[in-house]
């Protein structure tokens, strides 16, 4: 749990740095997100006059739900202590809980920016979440389990090439991009634009509340990268009960995977442009259809 928490801002910083270098800027240090969080933590909170208790408690609930979900994804070793307490569907739903509170918090002060953000976020989610569930179905039907540890174990022991894997991978990447509000769905770097979604919802937040929310969204990015790594590139994962060397190797592999994931994300972001909001449902609908197609293939034949 602590590991994902400490690495999450680093991944964010690394992605930003790579993006800046790709644009031939120097970019901030990869440790900048830590500094931002600390700075926000020390600042006072400016609350709107009519902010309710929900507004003040939502950041912690969002953070907690995301953190629990992130802690349930195997990072460098399978067989986590409480992995049986939740499966992949629960992780999806936990992220759903976090989103639910974030969207409510966006509407709490009663500003039009908050509402526009919440409304769009829920529209994206209404397609991204089913797409995610269908991808879970694909993976679960292949591995015969919805438990992530079991899935990773299955993937490690049966390395094979399937059509449905390909469909699921593309779908999952699309969902990950949308859920994390990256280009082309949303631009994490903008403010004062009508196209913003995530930033619009958190517009009224400041100080420590903002720090907690920012940390939660960094965690979410890490969660998706490690989820993709765990399912589609499980190499290096230390099996259950591995010795220290296995663990250390797993940790190195995990950091390497994160770096690759962050680099690919940055590369993708600089090479594409932001979409119009009403193009996004088509983009996400593609993920949903890929998931459905993958599931259908597996219903028809176990070997596809």
């Amino acid at each position: 749990m602590i590991l994902v928490l400490s690495l999450a801002p680093l991944l964010l910083g690394f992605t930003r740095k790579t993006k800046a270098r790709l644009l031939r800027r120097r970019g901030p240090s990869i440790f900048q997100p830590y500094r931002d969080l600390l700075r926000l933590m020390r600042k006072e909170v400016v609350l709107a006059d009519n902010a309710s208790w929900l507004f003040r408690s939502a950041p912690y609930l969002i953070f907690a739900a995301t953190w629990v979900a992130a802690a349930l994804v195997p990072t460098f070793a399978t067989g986590l202590m409480f992995n049986w307490s939740a499966d992949l569907i629960v992780i999806t739903a936990l992220l759903g809980s976090a989103r639910f509170f974030l969207a409510l918090a966006g509407m709490d002060v009663g500003t039009s920016f908050g509402g526009i953000g919440s409304s769009r976020e829920m529209m994206f989610a209404s397609l991204a979440e089913p797409a995610m569930i269908m991808i879970v179905f694909v993976v679960a039907l292949i591995a015969g389990s919805t438990q992530l540890s079991e899935i990773a174990f299955h993937m490690l022991s049966h390395i094979e090439l399937r059509v449905s894997y390909g469909l699921a991978l593309i779908g999952l990447v699309i969902v990950a991009i949308a859920e994390n509000g990256r280009i082309p769905v949303d631009n994490p770097a903008t403010h004062l634009e009508l196209t913003m979604v995530h930033e619009a919802m958190v517009l009224e937040y400041s100080g420590r509340h903002l720090a907690v929310i920012e940390l939660a969204s960094a965690l979410k990015l890490l969660l998706y990268v490690s989820l993709i790594a765990c399912i589609f590139a499980p190499w290096g994962l230390a099996p259950h009960g591995a010795d220290f060397r296995g663990m250390a190797f797993g940790a190195v592999a995990f950091v390497a995977k994160l770096a690759v994931g962050g680099f690919l994300l940055a590369l993708f972001e600089v090479s594409t442009a932001k979409m119009r909001v009403f193009r996004v449902p088509d983009f996400l609908g593609a993920a949903l259809m890929l998931g459905l197609l993958g599931t259908l293939l597996l219903f028809v034949s176990r070997s596809l």
């Binding site: 749990m1 933590m41 609930l61 307490s85 629960v90 639910f100 409304s119 209404s126 089913p130």
Partner: protein, 668 residues
């Protein structure tokens, strides 16, 4: 013993209905009658949950038709539904002790409320077709009287009329279904029907279609759902809660009783109409809910969605049972019953909340509410809990049953039939979509009604609701949380029913360590609501503690930032219809042919600009309008029959007689 107690309590409820008429002029009548209802519902609840032997209890009373009598029976399924109905009934009565004070004409509601409760209980206990139908009709008519309580409103009268039509149609379908089941011998008791030889395939198919029509029209299956969004808002809120949260469950009971019990071993294709209708119902229900601005109408549409989910689970159970796959069938059946229980809890709670809001502000339209979290903090809190539960978010109860349904879907590739293999993934997508849309729908409902700034003076001056209502709502919320944290108890409660009706059962959950639920095998899937809850609470507190310890504690209140351009008018907030706009544009253009119209006058013109939304109800336009036209046409044609001469009338009688005699002569 339990059955006797139950029957006596039902009689007592009917007595309370009589007492209500006698007390019509008394000021205290509201409290007395609802108090009595609360007490009797609790007794019935206890009678349903006390442990009985494995055998079903039966009783026969010399009521009704002299050569049949009235048979009653309590088995595991009726006991389970009895518990749900009376839990809902007790909560509604407790709520009504406070809420009933708002009522201007309590004597229009008081006699029918206990009668309605008694009717629902009788349906669950009936053991012959005659008592079942009488109880069913009694339930429909008493609830119709409750819908018509505020009959001065023309809209309510229309709702009552449509409800009456649909209810009669449903009873007619059930009547014919029982007629087919009993066959030419005419054994109308359920025991006779169960033992009778099962007819040919087309006959069972016809019975299934009639049951889907009859029970489906009461439950709110698309396209028979049209009365729900009209009738549920028209009734007083505690009655809406009963109708939406409980009466639809009685309809589900009727479906299970006939299709899983009386109709004999299922064939695989029975599941296909059930699955298809369920999936369409779930999707259309939640999409319609998302664009509603009337809070109670929104809740009624969301009930339709949940009924769809339950029917999908039942359809899966049918498919598995027909293929002799006992364990998956039990899983799907358990999921369906668990969702029945969950939905009865949170939907009642949501209707209570809507009633509290209506009582405090006089408004049901969310576009005229807002900011209620400040003026009604407790109601806002319990309503939030119910929204979380219905949106299937862990660790509350709605998630568990939906998780179980998904697990059942994941077991279906082993179904041998190709048609099912192609249908089930599509149904799975519909389920996933409706779950996600549901979260959006309730973010919208809660965000617009309870958060933000007040959009009307009534919303600004709202007062917290009374303690009776609050206690009923908090009790239901506590049950939602408990059912979400300890689902293993619920699953074990459903297990005997699953054993009886689908011939298999999921592993006993009670002795699994840490109170997780493991429907099939641990390597396949497991979920532990309690641990997830503890983790969330723990992480949230750790985060809050660390932030408080190391961060700044200062708080400054100021005007909202809103990117530097805050507008003081509450009208500039995001409204419900603007919140729904993205979904209306992406999915609604298919489901409702939704269009936005913008009338922008050219510069210099003093006309105001107008923005309108055009939404069509495809079910109404596609099915009911043609039927209405047909009825009107026939009525016009037959109108001429009013003006015939006496000779022509006698001729008609003669022709009819000859026709009937001919039929008898030709009939084999």
């Amino acid at each position: 013993m339990s059955l006797t107690v139950a029957l006596l309590s039902i009689a007592a409820l009917l007595g309370a209905a009589g007492l209500a008429i006698a007390l019509a002029r008394s000021v205290e009548a509201t409290r007395i009658i609802y108090g009595l209802c609360f007490g009797f519902s609790l007794i019935l609840f206890v009678a349903a949950v006390v442990p009985r032997g494995a055998a079903a209890l039966t009783a026969a009373l010399p009521l009704g038709l002299p050569w049949i009598g009235a048979h009653f029976r309590m088995d595991v399924l009726s006991a389970f539904f009895l518990a749900i109905v009376n839990l809902g009934g007790a909560a509604a009565s407790l709520y009504a002790i406070g809420y009933g004070a708002h009522e201007k004409h309590p004597s229009r509601i008081l006699p029918f409320f206990p009668a309605f409760l008694a009717g629902m209980n009788l349906v669950l206990l009936a053991d012959d077709a005659f008592s079942f139908l009488v109880a069913w009709e009694f339930m429909s008519l008493s609830s119709w009287a409750l819908v018509m309580a505020h009959h001065h409103d023309a809209e309510n009268r229309r709702a009552g009329f449509i409800y009456l039509l649909m209810a009669s149609f449903g009873t007619l379908a059930l009547l014919m279904a029982f007629g087919l089941l009993a066959g030419s011998v005419g054994g109308y008791s359920f025991a006779d029907i169960r033992d009778a030889a099962h007819g040919p395939s087309w006959k069972s198919g016809l019975v299934l279609a009639l049951v889907l029509l009859g029970a489906g029209s009461k439950a709110g299956l698309v396209p028979l759902h049209i009365w729900l969004p009209l009738a549920h808002p028209a009734a007083p809120s505690h009655v809406s809660a009963l109708m939406s949260g409980v009466m639809t469950k009685v309809a589900i009971y009727g479906f299970i009783r006939i299709v899983f019990d009386l109709l004999g071993p299922p064939e695989f294709w029975w599941s296909m109409p059930t699955l298809t209708l369920g999936a369409i119902t779930a999707m259309l229900g939640i999409l319609s809910a998302t664009i509603q601005s009337d809070l109670k109408k929104l809740l009624a549409y969301s009930t339709i969605e949940n009924i769809g989910i339950i029917f999908v689970a039942l359809g899966l159970a049918l498919a598995f049972k027909a293929n002799g796959m006992a364990l998956p069938a039990a899983l799907a059946f358990t999921a369906a019953l668990f969702h029945v229980f969950n939905h009865s809890l949170f939907k009642s709670l949501l209707f209570f909340g809507a009633g509290a809001v209506q009582g405090a502000t006089g408004e049901r339209d969310i576009e005229r509410l807002g900011g209620l979290i400040h003026s009604m903090p407790r109601t806002a809190f319990v309503f939030l809990g119910a929204c979380l539960a219905i949106s299937a978010l862990p660790p509350l109860n709605g998630f568990v049953s939906e998780w179980l349904v998904f697990q059942a879907v994941l077991l279906s590739p082993s179904l041998p039939q190709w048609s099912l293999k192609l249908l089930v993934p599509a149904v799975g997508v519909a389920l996933a979509l409706s779950a996600a849309l549901c979260a959006g729908c309730f973010v919208r409902a809660y965000g617009v009604a309870f958060l933000g700034r007040a959009r009307s003076i009534a919303a600004k001056d709202a007062r917290e609701t009374d303690p009776w209502s609050l206690s009923a709502m908090s009790g239901l919320l506590a049950l939602c949380l408990l059912a979400g944290l300890f689902p293993s108890y619920m699953i074990d409660t459903i297990t005997p029913a699953a054993k009886l009706f689908v011939g298999g059962h999921v592993p006993t959950q009670g002795d699994i360590p840490w109170m997780s639920i493991v429907p099939i095998a641990e390597s396949r899937s497991s979920y532990n609501g309690l641990l997830v809850f503890v983790f969330i609470i723990f992480s949230a507190s750790v985060a809050a503690l660390i932030v408080r310890r190391f961060g700044s504690k200062a708080i400054r209140r100021g005007p909202a930032w809103d990117c530097g351009y805050p507008d003081p008018s509450p009208a500039t907030q995001y409204t419900g219809s603007s919140f729904a706009q993205p979904i209306r544009r992406t999915l609604g253009n298919v489901a409702f042919v939704a269009r936005d119209h913008l009338d922008m006058p050219p510069p210099g013109d003093t006309r105001p600009a107008r923005f309108g939304i055009e939404v069509h109800d495809r079910v109404w336009d596609g099915i009911y309008t043609p039927i209405l036209r047909g009825v009107e046409f026939c009525a016009d044609q037959l109108n001429r029959m009013n003006y015939l001469t006496i000779q022509e009338y006698l001729g008609l009688v003669f022709i009819a007689l000859v026709g009937l005699l001919l039929v008898i002569a030709i009939w084999p």
